[in-house]
């Protein structure tokens, strides 16, 4: 059974439709890249999966938990779905270690020493163990984002959502973050990434979802999207031709 089942999800503000009839399934271990022009609803789509964006129609099941059901405990759901934000969103008043352990202690009810051990383990995985007592304001953008990834991993989620993780980074720091994400994919994490980094998509993704104006226009394998573009929809072809030029 797929880890995530999204069926006919729609979301609108007044008369403006943000998402229209979006359906897709994500299997465990898949790496899916979501791309498309600005305003196509990519960020909104992944935010519906962990309940940060409510939706008016359709259903989403994450490992058997129904996201739209009012009786679902969203905190329980969110502790199993990790999210990395475009602006990193580390908590500036807490040290790196405290950022990593806050949710472990308060949501997963771990005791502090276990939480710290876990936090440092993931901090080491992203290569930043020596910064454990620093504060976010003392780190570069790339370092902050890697800490943010470690923070999400500490919750041992079943799936990781990435919302344009490298868009706010200086070009020279993009690589260090993508390396972490590639490693994560190769270790078997289920990942959904909204990104413009097509190199990453080609290297590591299994599938590509292309969105335009709130609709899923393409939902195919990586090979079909990049190598068989002749069979793709006109909008997708147009998008591909523009980015291949880069």
């Amino acid at each position: 059974m797929p880890l995530i089942q999204m069926q006919h999800v729609s979301k609108w503000y007044g008369s403006f439709a943000v998402l229209t009839d979006c359906s897709t399934n994500i299997e465990q271990g898949e790496v899916v890249v979501v791309c498309g022009p600005s305003g196509s609803g990519k960020s909104t789509l992944i935010k519906t999966i962990n309940g940060l964006e409510p939706f008016q129609a359709g259903s989403i099941m994450v490992d058997g938990i129904s996201v739209g059901d009012p009786k679902t405990s969203l905190t329980l759901l969110r502790s199993q779905v990790g999210m990395v934000f475009q602006n990193f969103e580390l908590f500036p008043h807490l040290s790196v270690t405290e950022n990593l352990t806050l949710a472990q202690i308060k949501v997963m009810k771990k005791d502090p020493s276990t939480a710290i051990a876990q936090g440092l383990k993931y901090l080491d995985r992203v290569g930043l163990i020596e910064h454990k007592d620093k504060f976010p304001g003392q780190l570069s953008g790339g370092q902050q984002q890697r800490v943010a990834i470690a923070r999400a991993l500490c919750m041992q989620p079943k799936v990781m959502l990435f919302d344009e993780p490298t868009s706010a980074l200086d070009p020279e720091m993009v690589g260090e973050v993508l390396d972490v994400m590639v490693q994560l994919a190769q270790d078997g994490m289920t990942m959904i990434c909204v990104t413009h980094e097509m190199g990453f998509a080609k290297k590591v993704s299994d599938r590509v979802i292309f969105m335009d104006q709130g609709k899923i226009v393409e939902d195919c394998t990586k090979d079909e999207f990049f190598n068989d573009s002749g069979n793709r929809s006109p909008r997708a072809k147009e998008f591909l031709s523009k980015i291949i030029q880069q």
Binding site: N50, L52, L74, T75, L76, L77, R78, S79, V81, G82, M83, F85, Q86, N87, E89, L90, F91, P92, H93, L102, A103, K106, V107, M108, K134, F135, P136, G137, Q138, L139, A148, R151, A152, M155
Partner: protein, 263 residues
């Protein structure tokens, strides 16, 4: 017109002057005179000003932070919407009535409406009045501070599975409160200044002292000067204390700027 500060050393009852200027303050040490000198009285009055201000400030902070937080919550459920409405009404009510009028209400009107308050001493009633008045302003500043944080902070906290209460307690409020330390400093100074309206309901704080002693002795200028100096010292100290608090809670690597403008 002469200027003679030694009036402060004079006893309030007799004609004697205390050699050390203090009277009953140091009575247990058996130096000085036995009666209260004006200096003793002045210091007592200062004590009342400080007590009223501190009690008022603590209450105002507790109420103000709660109300300010309430105003930033999403009003989705019925409880959420009515809390939001209540908080908005609170702020508008206590902001738009002058302090003096509120003090009169607490002193003359409310004890009659709520009989259990009849035995409360008048300085506490003034503290309540100051607290409620200032809480509305603090609520506004807390709201501004919370809203000046990047929206992603709340989203990130929620994405980790923290509940709304937890995200406010551990992520949002710690940052927001640091941001609004400058306007909170103004509010602390304002409470000290507003405590002066207690004269209207006969609380023996500094302003009442000034008014009474000006009539009693004919040395109004000296008395007013002494009181003014104490107000200035108090204001200065409040500033210093808040500066220390700001330094102690500073976050390494981060420069914070207050979202509000003047006043």
């Amino acid at each position: 017109m002469t200027f003679d500060l030694s009036i402060l050393c004079k006893s309030t009852l007799e004609e004697e002057y205390s050699p050390i200027c203090f009277g009953e303050t140091f009575q247990p040490l058996l130096i000085g005179i036995n009666d209260q000198t004006y200096l003793d009285w002045l210091l007592k009055a200062w004590g009342w000003t400080l007590s009223v201000s501190i009690i008022g400030l603590i209450l105002a902070l507790i109420i103000g932070i709660s109300i300010g937080t309430l105003r930033t919550l999403p009003g989705k459920s019925l409880i959420g919407r009515s809390s939001l409405y209540f908080a908005n009404c609170w702020v508008e009510l206590f902001r738009n009535i002058p302090v003096l009028v509120q003090v009169f209400l607490w002193y003359h009107v409310i004890p009659l409406m709520l009989p259990f308050l009849k035995s409360v001493p008048s300085y506490l009633l003034v503290s309540f009045a100051l607290a409620f008045f200032t809480s509305a302003r603090i609520a506004e500043q807390v709201k501004a501070g919370i809203q000046s944080l990047p929206r992603g902070q709340h989203a990130a906290a929620m994405a980790l599975g923290l509940s709304t209460y937890q995200s406010y307690r551990f992520v949002i409020l710690p940052m927001a409160l640091r941001i609004i330390i400058p306007p909170l400093t103004s509010e602390a100074m304002n409470i000290v200044k507003n405590s002066s309206v207690a004269f209207a309901v006969s609380v023996s704080e500094l302003t009442m002292f000034a008014m009474q002693t000006q009539e009693e002795t004919s040395r109004g200028i000296e008395m007013y000067l002494a009181v003014t100096v104490l107000y200035v010292i108090t204001a200065f100290s409040v500033n210093r204390i808040m500066g220390i608090i700001e330094r102690k809670t500073r976050i390494p690597g981060l420069l914070l700027s207050s979202p509000s403008g003047a006043h």
